[in-house]
């Protein structure tokens, strides 16, 4: 029962010791003072003293008396005027070069619950004496174990072990449900964190180069013996660098936003046919200028719930790729169709081209951030276009399929749950 209290105290002490190492005694003092001040009810005790045991910071005025030490844990009681009488604490103290640090938790409630449960077992069901007592005992033992295991797991997760999950025993009861919910929440947190880590790595990788270039340009421009006309040119180049950086940054933000999935408030019913028509209109002149045929084939009335701007951006990215990677004279087609898949209605938004396509083994990779498949980089781009498409697809619960168009690439967004607006039988 007290195991997880010990574990959280342990974790907290580890953290505080690190702060002490990094920030010194004054830093630690500030942290302790702050934590102490946050504790209104003395549920947690923090005390930092000097070598003589005189308090420096915390929410206790003196080191507790009548301390009972068991291995490296200490127990003591305090009178709490705010709450009913004496409360029992479990804690640990550590010695620092410049003093002592005590962290303790109020375990009164836990001890009382335990006592109550024990009483309940003792007093429980008068009639079925033997059976009832054993049953109650088993029941409450079992409940305690479950709660304890959940608590222990959360304790460890709080201490930094994010990969840990709470055991689900498959019984389907409330505890199982709670554990499953907690696990789902952890899953999401971990995924967000992993996403963040990946983005930061990539940002570091991809933004560092242009940032460095930008800085050196400015430094050169600032050198005093440089003539005004080249200063101007350097500044113009720097502005162009900055613009490129901002574009990359914005693309990353869009992806992050789609991945965070928080925009549902602004969702609307988006008519995929209209969307395709709009994007077709927007890109048709460009395709024509590149000597390509852009075709549109769509059925009216296919709607999905979604973010119109993001869906448009995704579709535009696909058309942009098709135009960019297909040689002149290519054929690109944009289509919206409603079909059936295993008796379920699905909507498909598809872009095909007859360019070089993407080899099957590289299709997964092409969706990753900053991945560009051609090594020579003939064409402009950041390798973020398909990442956004993939994020927007996930946001809309749509499947993203990359397939062979023999020749060329066929990319589809498959919406499993189009909104039913079509007339019956249509």
């Amino acid at each position: 029962m007290e195991r997880q209290t010990e574990e959280t105290i342990e974790a907290e002490l580890t953290g505080l010791r690190e702060q002490y190492r990094d920030l010194g005694i004054f830093g630690l003092r500030r942290i302790i003072a702050q934590r102490g001040a946050e504790e209104e009810q003395l549920a947690s005790i923090y005390l930092l003293t000097n070598r003589l045991g005189e308090p420096i910071a915390g929410n206790l005025l003196t080191w507790p008396t009548d301390v009972e030490t068991v291995s490296n844990r200490i127990r003591f009681s305090l009178d709490d005027p705010d709450r009913s009488g004496t409360r029992r604490y479990l804690g640990r103290s550590v010695e620092l070069d410049q003093g002592y640090l005590l962290v303790a938790r109020d375990i009164e409630d836990k001890l009382r619950t335990q006592a109550l449960l024990v009483n309940a077992i003792a007093l429980g069901s008068g009639l079925m004496l033997v059976f009832g007592v054993i049953g109650g005992f088993v029941m409450s033992r079992w409940m305690l174990t479950r709660i304890e295991s959940i608590n222990r797991a959360t304790g460890q997760i709080m201490a930094g072990d994010l990969g840990r999950r709470i055991a689900v025993d498959g019984s389907g009861d409330e505890f199982d449900e709670l554990a499953a919910n907690l696990n789902a929440m952890l899953e999401r947190i971990e995924r967000l964190l992993a996403g963040m880590r990946e983005v930061t790595d990539n940002i570091a990788h991809d933004l560092r180069t242009p940032l460095t270039r930008l800085r050196s340009r400015l430094e050169v421009a600032l050198m005093k013996d440089i003539d005004p006309s080249s200063t101007r040119q350097l500044l113009e180049e720097t502005a162009a660098d900055a613009e490129g950086l901002i574009a990359t940054f914005n693309a990353l933000m869009n992806i992050a936003r789609a991945e965070a999935g928080e925009q549902r408030a602004s969702w609307e019913l988006v008519d995929l046919g209209e969307l395709a028509q709009d994007i077709f209109d927007l890109y048709e002149p460009l395709a024509e200028e590149r000597d390509m045929r852009l075709a549109l084939e769509s059925t009216a009335g296919i709607k999905v719930a979604g973010n119109r701007q993001m869906l448009a951006q995704a579709l535009a990215n696909l058309i942009d790729n098709a135009i960019k990677y297909t040689p002149e004279g290519g054929r690109i087609a944009l289509s919206v169709a409603q079909t059936r898949e295993q008796a379920r209605r699905i909507a498909r938004l598809t872009v095909t081209d007859n360019g070089p396509g993407i080899p099957v083994e590289l299709r997964g990779k092409a969706l990753e951030r900053f991945v560009r498949l051609e090594p020579e980089r003939h064409t402009p781009g950041n390798g973020l276009g398909l990442s956004l498409v993939s994020a927007v697809a996930k946001l809309h619960d749509a499947r993203l399929e990359l397939a062979d168009n023999n020749p060329g690439l066929r990319v589809s967004l498959v919406f499993e749950r189009p909104v039913d607006t079509a007339p019956p039988g249509g």
């Binding site: 002149p285 701007q309 535009a316």
Partner: protein, 234 residues
Amino acid sequence: MSDMKVLVIEDDVAAASYMVRGLEESGHVASVAHDGRDGLMLAASQSFDVLVIDRMLPGLDGLGVIRTLRATGNRTPVLVLSALGNVDDRVEGLKVGGDDYLVKPYAFSELLARLEALTRRGQPNAAEAPTTQLRYSDLSMDLLGRRVERRGKRIDLQPREFRLLEVLLRHPEQVLTRTMLLEKVWDYRFDPQTNIIDVHISRLRQKIDRDFEPPLIQTVRGSGYALRIPDQTA
């Protein structure tokens, strides 16, 4: 070019001062307030052509300033500046009474173009006015009959070209950036990776300017496009 009187309410002192310098450099007059309360006082005590309000301000925040202004009957156009760029934030910014919304980091030319578009609203050809005829120089557009003529000669336009020209005609002699055109003509606010707008403009030029003198659709370097009779003195 007629000058604007602009009030900038922005707590980032450096950003505000660059903005003021840029505005003055472009021939406008600018005042600054660094928090919401000061901004509100200034806006209420003097008359400005347009307000630039940062969304996040110490004390009274940007949206609060706009709400208060509107509640007191002040109708001065407001451009909201924000570090938040998702759809909901934008909708919220416009709902409290902002007239346009620009996400940081923005290009100064974009800011300038949007401010000019906001201040010309009250003039002929204004975006809101329920007109049926738009004209500029020898170019005219009949919105009901969906006809376009230049020097009395009929010009056939595709629906998108018509809409693009309409937007240009509603903002004569003003710079419209590519983002503004995408927004006003197509109602999209995403970031096209290629300059698709340029291609549309060049198509429109084929029809409006190729067979006539002088060319009316001007490219404004580093900014966008403007419907404008070329400057003879330049």
